[in-house]
Each structure stands twice: as C-alpha cells, then as structure tokens.
Subunit: 195 residues, 2 copies
DNA sequence: TGTACATCAGTGAACGCGCGTTCACTGATGTAC
DNA sequence: TGTACATCAGTGAACGCGCGTTCACTGATGTAC
C-alpha cells in the first residue's frame, strides 16, 4: 500500500533524475547544483531542503543511474532470450552497441565515471563500489550456468574498458573497436557458446 | 648536437613533470595551476610565460606521462624477454600488477583519465586519442607476430578496464580482480602461448 | 462549507572560497664594447 | 677584465568568475474547528 507521492517527493525524484543524467554527461564535477535545480524546474536555494550536501545528491544519482542501467539491460536480455539468442550475446551486443558509445547520458554509469571513482569522498566511493558489484552480478547472471563470478569480472572489465576507449577514439575508429570487442567476447569466449 | 638546456627549459620540464603526476593522481581538474607551480618550486605568476593556458600544460603533461608509460613498459618487456618469458606475459603481468593498482601517480595515464577524456577541450581530446593509439601500438608490439591491431585493441580495453575496476574495488577484491584478469589474458588467450 | 492558522516547499539574494588569468615590477643572467 | 645596459625568468598582488552553501522570507497546501 504505497501512498501517492507528495509534492516534495516528486521534486526530489526529478532532481535525482536530472543529476543521474548530468553526472554521466559531464562527470562528477561537471554540472553545478544551480544548473541541476534549474533543469528540474526549481531554483538553487531549495536544494538543501532535499539533500545534506552535493555529494549526497551524487550518491543518489549514481544509485538511480545504476538501477536504470540494470533494469534496461535485464529487459533487453530477457527480450532477446525470447527470440532465441543467448543471454551473453544479448548483453555484449547491447552494451557494446554504437548507441551506447554516443549516448553517454543514458549509458553505463561505471563507464562514464570509473577513472574518477577513487578520487571521490568515501560515501561516493562506497556507492561506486556497490555499482561495480551490481554490474558484475548482472554480467554473471548473463553467463551460462557454471561460470563463476571471477569470469564475470573479466568480461565486465573488458566491456567497460572497450566502451571508454571507443568513446575516446570516436567515429569509425571507435565503432571498429566496439565491433572487435564484440567479436572477441562472443565468438572467442570459452563460455559464450554454451546455452 | 644538443645544447645544454636553459634555466627556463629546466623549469618548464619540472612543471610538466609535476603536472604529469598531478593529473594522474587527481584527474584533469584535480590540481590547480598554483599548486603545480608551487610543487615545481615556483610561484603561480610565472605560469603563462611557459604555457598559453592550463589546457596547454595538460596536453604536455599527458604526452609526458604517456611516453613515460611506454618507456617503462618497453623496458620491462625487454628485460623479461631476456629471461625467457614471452613479451605478452611480461606486459600483462606488469600492467596488471598490484603496484600499478596502488600507484596511480606513476601509472597508465589512460587508466587514470579515460572516463574524462571525451569531456575535454579539443586539443586535450586529440592528445588523449594519440595516447590510446600509442598504447594499442605498444600492446600490438608485445603480441606474437601475426596478431593484428584489432586484437591489441581488445587486450588494451581489458587491461585498462580491469585496472580501473580494481582501483575502485580496492583491497582484496581489487587484487582478486587483477589476478583473474591476468589469468584470463595469459592462460586463455589464443595468442598468448605462441612465442 | 468556510474561516484561521500552522506547516510545507520553494525563492532569490548574499557569503566565502578557490581558481584561471593578467600585469606591473624586480632581481638575475647575458651581451656589447 | 670591468662597466653599462638589455633581456630573461620569476614574483606577488589583484581581478573576475563560478560554485557550494546559508538564510530570511513568501506563497501554497493542508488541518482544526
């Protein structure tokens, strides 16, 4: 029995949504409190009625972005599974898709932020660790039964690294790198062909 | 016939050296001009006699850091080759070594900055691309003859991604992820066992 | 149903701080004769 | 070798701007009776 959200809860959710996109687009320090509030249709003065600090928002934004990623990947994997492909194939092809290279804002929060994670305050770093663990768990769930967690870690590292390098190179070079990585993971991976 | 460096050239090199460490430790925007100059034994006012802008320093710092990385990895690979191991093994074991996880400041400039690269000004992004290309070339040179560049791209992505995730997880979880990735690359890679 | 008041949610000005950049100036180094 | 002057390299104060945070205030929403 969930009550309908209050006016404040709606605003809160809107701010977090905006921030979840902003940190992926511009990085941890790329967008200011005032800009986020403005994009959420509010003024910056009200910010501290919602969050103790900017970092508190960043933590919520990471959670939100990460959960979005997981939900979206899970959905795609299930849909693909219904069509007859393997889960692993669906995961790799979705994560290393061209659209993911271009659309950072809606993409993987880990790929968007990983090289900055160790430089954040403890609360933020802790949430970052949770995000990595969740992503590894998702990859694990897409591997055939019998694969262990460490296998999922390597696959995750490869996908995250490839997406970042592809984004940096951009254009055709980036697309080529993505294609090569898809190929290496799907066609050469010892577990990929098992159901 | 190289002349001995002028006083100014020595200062310039010192500033770039400091910045090359600073951007890897703290990120593109993590350390200010004043701090860098101070660490180089100077005051901030003299900065613009050396560089047109902060970004101009960042470009030189990336070049410096990247060249250091290449020189250091090349040396380790050659030394290991003399002892009888394969180049590829030496590369992977060095790059994915625990020391590299801890010591960001002296480590791979790509792993330290990759998720921020697409957000930089054009000059900086262009140098970032050059760094990625050089790293891929280095990895390529460590693969057995016959491997092509695209193979090197995938290995590079895997190593960069693994180092970042390991740093984020930290401690034992980070070490374990590194170990797993070394294992996956060295023992399972189709090209790894060829001379 | 209507009025009176309390609480809620958001406003907008202001503060303090850090940072990139500029600039007039100074002491050191190098050159001309 | 010594003096006079120009150039070089660096100093330190100041400017302007953006950003996180605070706070007194206001209009809207909800509650009591």
């Amino acid at each position: 029995m969930s009550t309908s959200p209050t006016r404040k809860e709606l605003s809160h959710a809107r701010i977090v949504d905006v921030a979840a996109k902003a940190i992926r687009r511009a990085g941890y320090r790329g967008v200011g409190v005032a800009d986020i509030m403005k994009e959420a249709g509010l003024t910056h003065g009200g910010f501290y009625a919602h969050f103790d600090s900017r970092d508190a928002l960043v933590v919520e934004a990471m959670t939100r972005a990460g959960e979005e990623n997981i939900a979206s990947l899970t959905e795609v994997i299930e849909r693909r599974l219904a069509k007859g492909g393997t889960r692993f194939q669906a995961l790799v092809e979705t994560y290393l898709h061209e659209a993911h290279m271009t659309r950072t804002e809606d993409g993987c929060v880990i790929a968007a932020l990983s090289s900055e994670m160790t430089r954040q305050e403890d609360v933020v770093l802790e949430e970052a660790r949770r995000r990595v663990e969740k992503m590894v768990a998702l990859v694990h769930s897409a591997l055939p039964a019998g694969a262990d967690e460490s296998e999922a870690e390597v696959v995750t590292a490869t996908m995250v690294g490839a997406l970042q390098l592809a984004r940096t190179l951009g254009g055709k070079a980036g697309s080529a790198l993505l294609a090569q990585t898809r190929h290496a993971l799907i066609d050469r991976h010892p577990l990929a062909t098992r159901p």
